[in-house]
């Protein structure tokens, strides 16, 4: 057991903190939440320049070959700063291509992902908002050269910035297939913004007879289900790591506020009622942090721990919104205002409580893993 950071991780954390404090402050977060696509693009360009999309891409495909555990350190910082950048989305789709895709897809797409020329976002949820990997309402007809895809996916993060979507489809020969669909200015692809509380762009993607090549198929059959399950699990751990960072930031800012704010002639943070609120917040933040990093660690080799992934998202989904509500209570009236940044964190926490599966979804997965 080692709860400390490696040198690489330490470096990643320090540089991320510096960069994010400089480029992704509350003004940027608010601008992107208000739909300022240019602000999002600018930030993404800077992030690409830093090489973050390449971090977990294997070295043989032009990446830095870091582990998912390393990535979690960065994700924590992205969560703490609310940075509206699709690093989690890019890293988990790249992982699925690398783990399940044919060599041709890897050779073509992974280097471009590392360069920031290709950004693939997960699009595996339909109208029913279900993260069940067996469940898709997108259909694909096989043609001589590939697939013609029709259907709708919802709750797709960063679809407006992504070049491709990674989507599970039902083919006309009644098979499931995980497919990389080009969505950037593609004929037949329609995007509708969903005005999502997360503050990052989230859209509905509609596919109207979108033609893709057979080479865009990552994997088919039961393995496509396994790949999608792993995609959802990796996404849930990424969200847990981001929420752990968010929680830490909320604890820190609440400590700062209650230390400075005076009533009855003393800092409100000296009152036991406030101290116990904050102690409970600190406990929850640490629990989610440890479960998230333990889960991320389990992704570091081939495969992952189903239990650890579920535990991470169960805890994150159950605890972090409560932590935010307690933070509002500690802030009093100022935390109820639009002007104060606290609600940005609360909105993100509420939005990601369900993203990549809510607590109930992951409890069911964990119960099965426990043999129930």
């Amino acid at each position: 057991m080692d709860f400390g950071l490696t040198q690489t991780q330490e470096l990643l954390r320090t540089s991320a903190r510096e960069f994010l404090a400089d480029r992704s402050g509350p003004a940027t977060v608010r601008a992107v939440a208000d739909g300022d696509a240019e602000a999002a693009e600018r930030l993404w360009k800077d992030v690409v320049e830093l090489g973050w999309p390449a971090l977990t891409v294997p070295e043989q495909h032009g990446g830095a070959g870091l582990s998912f555990s390393d990535l979690a350190v960065l994700l924590e910082e992205l969560g703490a700063s609310l940075a509206p950048v699709p690093i989690a989305e890019s890293a988990i789709t790249a992982r699925i291509l690398d783990r399940f895709g044919p060599d041709a897809i890897k050779a073509e797409l992974l280097p471009q992902i590392a360069e920031g020329d290709v950004l693939i976002t997960p699009a595996v949820v339909g109208r029913d908002a279900s993260w069940d990997a067996r469940n898709t309402a997108v259909v694909a007809n096989r043609t001589g050269s590939g697939l013609v895809i029709t259907g709708e996916t919802r709750f797709v993060s960063f679809a407006n910035q992504a070049t491709h979507a990674l989507t599970l489809v039902n083919t006309d020969d009644d098979q499931l297939a995980l497919v990389v669909i080009p969505i950037w200015k593609s004929a037949g692809v329609e995007q509708t913004p969903m005005d999502h509380a997360s503050g990052v762009p989230v859209s509905t993607l509609t596919f109207n007879e979108v033609e893709t090549l057979a080479s865009s198929i990552v994997i088919t059959g039961s393995e496509a289900v396994a790949a999608t399950e792993e995609l959802v699990a990796a996404g849930s751990v990424a969200r847990a790591a981001q929420l752990a960072g968010l929680a830490r930031a909320v604890v820190d800012s609440t400590v700062e506020y209650t230390t400075g704010r005076k009533q009855f002639g003393q800092p409100v943070g000296s009152f036991q009622a406030i101290q116990h609120h904050l102690a409970e917040m600190a406990i929850a933040a640490k629990q989610v942090n440890h479960l998230a990093h333990a889960a991320a660690w389990s992704f570091s080799g081939d495969g992952y721990s189903v239990e650890r992934a579920a535990q991470a998202k169960i805890a994150a989904s159950e605890k972090i919104t409560d932590l935010c509500w307690t933070a509002h209570q500690c802030h009093g009236a100022i935390g109820f205002t639009w002007e104060h940044d606290l609600h940005l964190y609360t909105r993100r926490a509420m939005a990601w409580k369900t993203d990549f599966g809510d607590a109930a979804f992951h409890r069911a997965i964990l119960a099965s893993a426990m043999g129930l």
Partner: protein, 394 residues
């Protein structure tokens, strides 16, 4: 970051587990009731067995017969013992007094006591709490007055676990009533057979004699039994407590209880087997599994920090709160699932899971209270961990 044990750590856990397979009676599910002679004998046997294998004081430096084992190994030891609900893990001697004597004791105190502790030959108890001094321990009133070569001790200690089995007590006494509360306290070693000591049993709410009130009436304690300097007892007596606060016992007990509950629910012959497909029940059991895993990681975090040479005070408090809370939660849920059967006493023929969940739940009431209430722990987390300002006192 690394979330796996070293081969050495895993080996040790396996060896200890195999030892307990042999040492514990068939069908043992604990917890031990040390007021029962058979359980006390088991406690003594396991202690000796652990000592023979070099595990009993493995946390000690080699010069005192230990193995200088890492805090992580010590945590694994505590976890495995608690997970099996095995008696014989003597914290008072091996983890509290022993290290205190190494640091503050005189040569003759070390010679006299450390060997006996290491061999598992002597039982110590801890005399800190008093009827009027609980969370506010520094207000303790038991007096020790120096008279020639002896301290004359008068007063009372309470909630003293195992006083009815102990040979010796290490106790905090007030030696300077005029000094500020923390500055007039000393630590004494007292033979429990001394004239004037009365051990009065206290039966806990589970119906078990686990702790006592100990009354001191003109008890003579040799001056040589003072540990450290006169009036320096607060520092001497607190140093080791800081290292000892951990939730690992509770996290391990909770894990054992949840595993029992899950296998009970899965068993087609059990009264509640129909609920195993119920999504709510499955979800609740999974949520408990998550909480337990979180508590466990918090304890490993404490051990890791100790291994780095830190004194993780707030982290230890966090692990204690998380562990004690989830333990009670698991037992509550087990009792809820057992429904009407959940409240049958262990002796009842109709009791399921031998009535053990009910009994353990009553015991678990003490977790958030003892060794610093969880409210005190939260104060520590807020003030030492988060650096929040202290409220002005009165």
């Amino acid at each position: 970051m690394r979330f796996e044990f070293t081969p050495e750590e895993s080996d040790f856990r396996r060896q200890l587990s195999a030892f307990l397979d042999d040492a514990l009676p068939t069908g043992w599910h604990g917890p031990a009731d040390e007021s029962r002679d058979d359980h006390w004998a088991l406690n003594q046997r396991i202690k000796k067995g652990l000592a023979d294998r070099g595990w009993f004081v493995m946390s000690w430096p080699r010069e005192y017969g230990g193995a200088d084992s890492s805090p992580m190994m010590n945590t694994i030891f505590a976890e495995e013992m608690a997970y099996r609900r095995a008696p014989g893990h003597d914290r008072f001697g091996t983890r509290m007094l022993g290290p205190t004597l190494m640091r503050f004791g005189s040569d003759s105190q070390r010679t006299e006591h450390l060997g006996a502790i290491a061999r598992g030959e002597i039982q110590w108890c801890q005399g800190y709490s008093e009827p009027n001094s609980g969370s506010d321990l520094a207000s303790l009133q038991t007096r020790a007055v120096l008279d020639g070569d002896n301290f004359i001790v008068n007063g009372a200690k309470i909630w003293t676990s195992l006083a009815h089995r102990a040979d010796m007590m290490f106790m905090l006494v007030r030696t300077d009533p005029d000094a500020a509360p923390h500055r007039g306290i000393s630590l004494l070693l007292v033979d429990m057979k001394s004239p004037g000591i009365q051990v009065l049993p206290i039966i806990n709410m589970a119906g078990v004699h686990s702790f006592n009130q100990v009354v001191f009436d003109d008890v003579h304690v040799p001056k040589a039994n003072l540990v450290g300097d006169l009036n320096d007892g607060w520092r001497v007596g607190m140093t080791v407590l800081n290292f000892e606060r951990s939730g690992i016992d509770y996290a391990a007990w909770a894990r054992a209880a949840l595993e029992e509950l899950v296998s009970y629910v899965k068993n087609d012959d059990s009264l509640v087997s129909t609920v195993k497909t119920n999504p709510e029940v499955r979800g609740n059991l999974a949520a408990l599994n998550t909480e337990i895993e979180a508590a466990r990681l918090l304890c490993y975090d404490v051990a890791w920090r100790q291994g780095q040479g830190a004194v993780p005070s707030a982290e230890a408090s966090i692990s204690k709160v998380a562990g004690t809370e989830v333990y009670a939660k698991v037992l509550d849920y087990g009792i809820e699932l057992l429904s009407m059967y959940g409240v049958l006493e262990p002796g009842s023929e109709q009791a399921e899971l031998e009535g053990n969940f009910f009994k353990m739940r009553l015991f678990a009431t003490s977790g958030p209270i003892l060794a610093g209430t969880n409210e005190i722990q939260k104060n520590i987390i807020a003030q030492r961990g988060l650096n929040l300002p202290r409220a002005p006192r009165r």
